[in-house]
Symmetry: C4
Subunit: 302 residues, 4 copies
């Protein structure tokens, strides 16, 4: 009876795509819940309850938590740029790209809304009730990212390409058995550390979105919640940069990974007793983010 | 002879409930010893010996240490809201709820007393000997949490619901073999990182108690130690919020976890060679925080 | 030939005690090298190159590094209070207590001397060439710990008892198979996190020495290096507190661990298939910091 | 077809030396990309988007990421001083020393160039368009390290010897099975923590380069990018110190490791069931950074 309550068969969503989309929704929700809450706390407390570093660290914890929560169901991409890379690598079917991306954007939007309600009083107190994009009392940057005044368009595009490229370059190697893989059960923590590193070093120009969903979802929310159309029109319609550039950067980072590392690895992991057998013709599993991924994909065809 | 001294059979408490209550007492004691000491150090040194972040990090180390210390005996709940969730999930018998909670509150109370004695001189120096709840020299916040001036009651309730819900959502998945579990021996460190994330991002409004024992125990201590009844009456008897709202939040977070993750997982972990066997009728182990938990519970029936 | 250079048999010290003492010397040297360097860097840069937190974190990295370096040889106590606890527990022969302690003090002294030479120019620049114990330009606290002005003797004694007791309480459980042990190969990192927690929360009063060697070695160095006898006479000969109180605290923390945890654990670890066999009479291995410890001890009798 | 795209055999570089040099290039590129980006972010934001600590932490994440990325191919030395030590230990053939070092310097140079382009607008804004080595608006220290004004030449040489010696002393033990090794799959994270510790404690004098490539590559870049010859001539041609002293320090640190630890360890790891067999004559594997290293080296002879 108790176990029936806990695992009711009829509650399982039949569509694998829908189950995975729910997971991507929840994972991106958790990521942004941590990240935007920290941004709200640091901003509205005028850095008395945290600093720039705590926002970086909170996003990092959000990545780790979201990955433990959803990696077994959807792979925990949490980022359309990551999904795109896996599609390019042939690890995830292209049909997943749009539903995953929409779920991620929706998760980010929903988290922004919850952060808004939790920190509503603090935001009103801090801003004097005027929700703006510019000025010392601006609060729009709690949600979406905005460029520094001095930043040219091309530099901000390059910034997002490099940031997202670094992300993919550094995470694609973590599951590769032929290289020096991270412990499978600690991949979420390692990825979190990498995201922390990127946040601390590549957010100086325009906030290190490196994730179209992380930026577009909260920006859409701030549009609907009272910050006005300026969230999209400001800085000469800059909003498209953290949407488009991460996609370019992810593919570039993936390509650099393939050229420098993946294609240079031996055919078999060193543990394999048949490493020296040069007559092996069986197809070799290549980039493996997670072996469960393939299992899952295979089972979805049934 | 030496081993007799170290493991005297007669020193083992016969009642499993009492042994577990001792563990919950000690674990919550350790959690608050780290956390309140750090709050005292940062407050009384006027942030010259640490900052807001060090308080967050000390609570996090406290969680980790307390879990390594007591998880094998009582499960290391350290928090009535966590115990309640496990009761709801059928993992812990309902008869444990009250004794565990009382032990946790008592552990928090005792730790507060010890912190008070260790930092007595510093508190007197800082406060000029006047123990108050309000003002620049207040010291009550070393022990219990208090809301920001601007915060409405409903927002503070929502804040505690969301914080505790996030905690449960993020920790319930860590032991689930059918998902991507954390390394069993590193669960205390991962939970500590999650608590750090919540402390850095969801403590802006009212201090992220997310734990009735962590808040009520120290508040009771500060009542008896000279801060007066104001610790309970201030902010219009606000003290009940971090006692009640975490319980609501924990159950809500558990429910969201079940709906989005637990109920969507396959019946067997992917490692199981019989994964594809669709005729299996044997009951499936569900939410498993820790497999030792069941073993322990089973052995307690004897 | 190459392997002869790398592993020359004749270079192995024949006396196990001397090998272990060398390890304790080197380990405590590394601990203090990290810790005092960080203190010198933060102090002489007037907090522009680090803050209080970086000193805490550097001591923590020092603990981890020293443990990986020497745990396989001497157990990596790095602290006479830890050695004393293991003697009390019967894990380490009492004959080790004095040689280990002297090696630890000597290692701390030597590290202080090296830090002094590396930061000589910076210390002279900062202090204007006057090495003092008091005042805004004091530099003695780079090496040993000193109490806050407001602190009473009894409070500082309690402070060191509680800090060291917490250390022992939290680390003794990490290797206990019948509880929830930390991963054996990550014990140095977990201990480092615990030391970080203590440094962040229990150093407000008098610097969290919690280690007679960590305090006495550097204090002796600063005596010989030009700070004068004031390093011992100041604050009414306070220097004995971080030498004596940690020993008391370590034994107390060990006792609390035994009473609340060790003596309450089941006879066998849960993994043991014979857990339910209640007729087992064989002696049970008790507190196990590290199973290699016993192996080592055993082999030393030969 | 898909797997052909991902693992095209013809893309594998035939020369093992060239593959490894590519890996050292990419690894050092990633290390400097994280590190110099963080330095640029903290400097140009005038510490509003990070502090000294975030630069330390970013270099640390860079080390970890670069090691996961390249350790399986080249051993992830990322530092000529580390390569030199492995040559001295007989783990890496001497013929690798120059190609590895040049690849590392080139990787550091390339990363500096990318950081310059990403932060070009910020650097121009911060410096007013004048790229200088001295003064409050200097930006040369984003790339290479420079000594403090007060520092004597001999002290800066000692500083770099001690820093690099500490690095080697602390990392050489991590893979030694006869001691207490770190988890093989977490060595990159442990090394990252050690590098963080050194950066926080031994960078007060002259920036803790402890790596000729990390310093020379970016210095060459800043020479070519407009900072002028002063980057080499300043402080009386100081630039050679972080190039030469780390090499001396690495060999000294290695020697101390051998004398105090390596040569004192038992012949076999404790796990070995034949530990007590004193008649074994087979050659004993000594310092093992990574067992894959030997496999790789062996396979390269074919």
């Amino acid at each position: 009876q108790s176990s029936t309550m806990i695992q009711p068969r009829f509650m399982r969503v039949r569509s694998a795509l829908f189950r995975e989309s729910m997971a991507e929704f929840l994972g991106t929700f958790v990521l942004l819940l941590f990240g935007c809450s920290a941004a709200a706390q640091v901003k509205t407390s005028r850095e008395t309850k945290g600093q720039f570093l705590s926002v970086n660290m909170s996003f990092s914890v959000g990545v780790m938590s979201a990955m433990y929560l959803t990696k077994g169901i959807s792979g925990a991409h949490l980022n359309p740029a990551v999904t795109l890379s896996f599609c390019v690598l042939g690890q995830v079917p292209w049909s997943r790209l749009v539903p995953y991306s929409l779920s991620q954007i929706l998760g980010a939007y929903t988290a922004s809304a919850l952060v808004y309600f939790v920190y509503y009083d603090a935001i009103m107190e801090f801003s004097g009730g005027v929700l703006t994009v510019y000025g010392a009392n601006e609060t729009a940057s709690i949600f979406a990212t905005y460029p520094s005044e001095y930043l040219s368009l091309s530099a901000s595009f390059l910034d997002q390409v490099v940031g997202t490229g670094t992300l993919l370059l550094c995470i694609l190697c973590l599951g590769e058995k032929r290289n020096t893989p991270a412990p499978e059960q600690l991949v979420p923590a390692i990825v979190a550390a990498i995201v922390l590193g990127i946040s601390m070093s590549m957010s100086g120009n325009c906030g290190a979105a490196i994730n179209p969903a992380r930026d577009l979802g909260p920006r859409l929310f701030s549009l609907t919640a009272g910050w006005g159309t300026e969230v999209f029109t400001c800085y000469n319609y800059w909003f498209w940069v953290p949407v488009v550039a991460p996609l370019v950067g992810a593919v570039l980072g993936t390509l650099i990974y393939l050229i420098f590392i993946e294609w240079q690895l031996p055919d078999h992991p060193p543990e394999d007793p048949h490493t020296e057998s040069s007559f092996s013709n069986k197809p070799i599993p290549s980039v493996t983010w997670d072996s469960k991924e393939e299992l899952k994909e295979a089972s979805q065809q049934i």
